[in-house]
Amino acid sequence: MKNKRTELKVSAIRNGTVIDHIPSDVVYQVFGILSLDETSNQVYLGTNLDSKKLGKKGIIKISGKYFKDDEINKVSLVAPNATLIEIKDYEVSRKEKVQLPEIVNKIVKCINPKCVTNNQNVPTSFQVKQDHKGNMKLFCKYCEKTIGKQNIEFI
């Protein structure tokens, strides 16, 4: 019964990618992180859907497109509990939680106004680290400043 419901929910696309369990308030951020504003593929976007886990959740379905791991893993910066589902011919061919990437390039702004990335034409690059409490932090490769999760700003 459970399987059938999952299948119904995601079978709206024949081939492509579903990102499920996105907190409703970051759906548009995920949209931006994956550059879906630039794609010509069909994209379905749902917010404020009922979810047992999150209360309200968002979901994004992209038809006819699969993402590289390092692309999809960026989603975890704002939606650490999101689920990646790949669909092939209406069947779930892959389903897993998004993973934190090791490196985050180009999409996050450095918090330091004096950082070279904010003053010259230099793409940002961060190492993903965890502090001793297990909180995710971004370490700027250039100015060596650390950005906490609450201060992450996307370009």
């Binding site: 004096k114 070279v116 060596e144």
Partner: protein, 305 residues
């Protein structure tokens, strides 16, 4: 065999323990025999995007003792930078004319970026508030020279520990050698947690103090820094702490025999002049050591040592 040929130095953490020690060993050679004509025919680019007379003269002196030539600029107003040329273009241009580039730049991270775009090695002479690795190496050289070894020293760092980049780099570097750290500062200028995490990760210990005198009997090295008024959003707060961390000669009475007082200079009033004649004062020799260390770096990076 440790080979640093072609290796940029942006951040002190770019070099491991053995590489740091190798530079200090070469610097020792230059202290004994400073004039060596090994840079003959080599050109060093020296790009100071902000003025820093002290650091620039030290580098120029190092190059000239080695018989090399220097090209570049001492401040951005005489260069194409004022015409809006990008850092990348300046680096690519000057790398056509030189074997190595020494760069000082007010932007944090500019040296890392320069090292990525430059075909010749970059020697960071200070990138904004971020790193100043040659200062760190001359501090290490001074500590080793006065203490006999870098291992397991007790170092007290005093003053502005929040913004002082030299103390941050020195903590990182000394963590490789098993130091114990004593941080003395007003509450508003305490060592940042990222630096303290570094100490913890190295399984070393640090202690924090408000009272300067507490560290006096313990320290092997007293590393003084300047508390700058402009760091304080509230001028009243500055008034409260500005005279709390001034070292006077009488305070050195009950200290260890091997204690040395270091300071990255320039000093303003944080060490009174009566300390200068005390044999424990070492800050002027410390600055002199900077030339040997810079000679060593240039020689090693060009593959001449």
């Amino acid at each position: 065999m440790i080979n640093l040929k072609g290796r940029s130095l942006v951040s002190i953490t770019d070099y491991n323990k053995e590489e740091i020690l190798r530079i200090l060993d070469i610097a020792e050679e230059f202290e004994v025999n400073q004039r060596q004509n090994i840079l003959n025919g080599h050109v060093i680019g020296s790009l100071f995007f902000e003025p820093s007379t002290r650091t620039r003269l030290s580098f120029e002196s190092a190059v000239q003792y080695l018989g090399g030539s220097i090209i570049g600029f001492a401040s951005p107003d005489v260069s194409s930078v004022t015409k809006g040329e990008s850092l990348k273009d300046t680096i690519l241009t000057v790398s056509n004319y030189s074997d190595l580039i020494v760069m000082r730049n007010p932007l944090d991270g500019s040296a890392r970026y320069a090292s990525e775009v430059s075909p010749v090695p970059i020697l960071n002479a200070g990138d904004g508030a971020n790193q100043h690795p040659t200062q760190c190496l001359l501090d290490l050289y001074s500590i080793r020279k006065t203490q006999g070894s870098l291992d397991n020293i007790h170092i007290a760092m005093v003053g502005d520990l929040k913004y002082g980049r030299t103390v941050h780099s020195l903590v990182q570097a000394l963590s490789l050698f098993g130091a114990t750290f004593h941080f003395v500062s007003p509450d508003s200028l305490k060592m940042p947690s990222s630096v303290k995490t570094w100490v913890k990760n190295a399984n070393l210990e640090y202690y924090q103090y408000n009272d300067f005198m507490e560290v006096m009997p313990i320290a092997d090295i007293l590393y003084m820094t300047r508390i700058q008024g402009e760091r304080f959003p509230d001028p009243l707060e500055y008034e409260k702490v500005k005279n709390a961390y001034i070292l006077e000669n009488s305070m050195l009475e009950n200290t260890k025999d091997n204690l040395k007082v270091l300071h990255p200079l320039p000093r303003v009033n944080e060490i009174t002049e009566d300390v200068d004649d005390n044999p424990k004062a070492y800050y002027f020799q410390q600055a002199r050591n900077g030339v040997f260390v810079r000679q060593a770096l240039i020689a090693a990076i060009l593959g001449l040592k």
